[in-house]
Symmetry: C2
Subunit: 164 residues, 2 copies
C-alpha cells in the first residue's frame, strides 16, 4: 500500500502564471465512493488504475497499477461514470516541494486547484503567492466528487475560483 | 478487453458430488454497480483485480489484472464492501466444456451455483444431471449482488438450493 499524504488549495487565478506546457489528464471513475474510489487515468500516453481508501486526517491509502492504454480508452468510453474528468496539470517545483496545479475543463471548467504531496502530515509547507484557500478537508473538491457534483453546477460563490 | 460469455445455473445438491478438492476463493468488491463492478480476488496464492461492465445478453466486458497478494489482503481487509464473498470452487470438465461449481460459505452459505464459460452465445451446452434451474439472466445471483443482498437474507423458498 502506498499512503498519499497531500494538502489541497484553491488557486488565485489573477496571481497564477502557468510555468510551461501542462499535460492533459483524462480520467474517469468506476467508483466514486470516498471509502473505495476506483479511477482510470490516461496521461502522457500511459494509463493507470488507482484505488483510494477513506481519508484519515490528510492521508489516504492508495494502490496504483499501470494498465494497457487501449483498456483505459475502452473503460473511459464505455464503463466509467459521467462526466469524465478532463484537466491540464502543471508541475511546479518550489522550495523542495512539487506542486501540481490542475486547470479543469468541461463540466468542471472554472476550477483551478493545487495539490502538494508531503512525506508526513506535519511537514512545513511554504505557500506560493498564488495559493488561496485550503480545501484539503472539503470532500467536494475530491476529483471523484466532481463527477457526482461537477463544479459548473455548484451555486455561484461556492468557491473563490468560481468564474463571475 | 476480454468478453466473458457464460451461463449460470443452480446446482441440485442431492445429485452433486464434488469431483476432488476445490480451491478456496476469497473476494470482495470496491464497486457492486452491475455496469462497472470492481472485484479483488485471492485464490491459490495469487490475486487479481477484475472489472466487469454491464451484461448484454449473456456477454459482459471484462478486464483482469494480476496484483500483489499483499495489496489484495489489505484491500479485502480494509477497503472492500461487506460481506466478503467466501466460496470453494470446483472445476469439472465435461463434454469439452469447463464447469465451475461454487459452494458459498459465510453469509451466502447454502448457495451452490455452476457457471460454464462459452466461446459464443449460441454454443450448444450439454447439461450434467446435477444442473438445475438456469439463473443467467437473474442479477440476484451475480457475486456482486450477493454482497448487497447475501443469500442467507433471501426469503425462504427464493431459490431451490436454499437450505430447508
Amino acid at each position: 500500500m502506498g499512503l498519499e499524504i497531500e494538502r489541497k488549495f484553491l488557486v488565485k487565478r489573477a496571481a497564477w502564471r502557468p510555468p510551461a506546457a501542462g499535460s492533459r489528464y483524462r480520467q474517469g471513475y468506476l467508483s466514486t465512493d470516498p471509502a473505495r474510489s476506483v479511477r482510470v487515468r490516461l496521461a502522457g500516453g500511459q494509463a493507470w488504475l488507482t484505488i483510494k481508501g477513506a481519508t484519515v486526517g490528510i492521508a489516504r491509502a492508495e494502490y496504483e497499477y499501470p494498465i494497457p492504454v487501449t483498456d483505459a480508452h475502452e473503460m473511459l468510453d464505455r464503463l466509467c461514470r459521467r462526466p469524465l474528468i478532463d484537466k491540464t496539470r502543471y508541475r511546479v517545483e518550489l522550495a523542495g516541494l512539487v506542486w501540481e496545479v490542475d486547470e479543469f475543463h468541461g463540466d468542471n471548467a472554472g476550477l483551478l486547484m493545487a495539490e502538494v504531496e508531503l512525506a508526513d502530515a506535519h511537514q512545513h509547507v511554504e505557500l506560493p503567492d498564488w495559493v488561496g484557500e485550503e480545501v484539503t478537508a472539503d470532500p467536494r473538491y475530491y476529483n471523484a466528487s466532481l463527477v457526482d457534483s461537477p463544479f459548473r453546477e455548484w451555486p455561484a460563490g461556492a468557491a473563490e475560483s468560481k468564474p463571475a
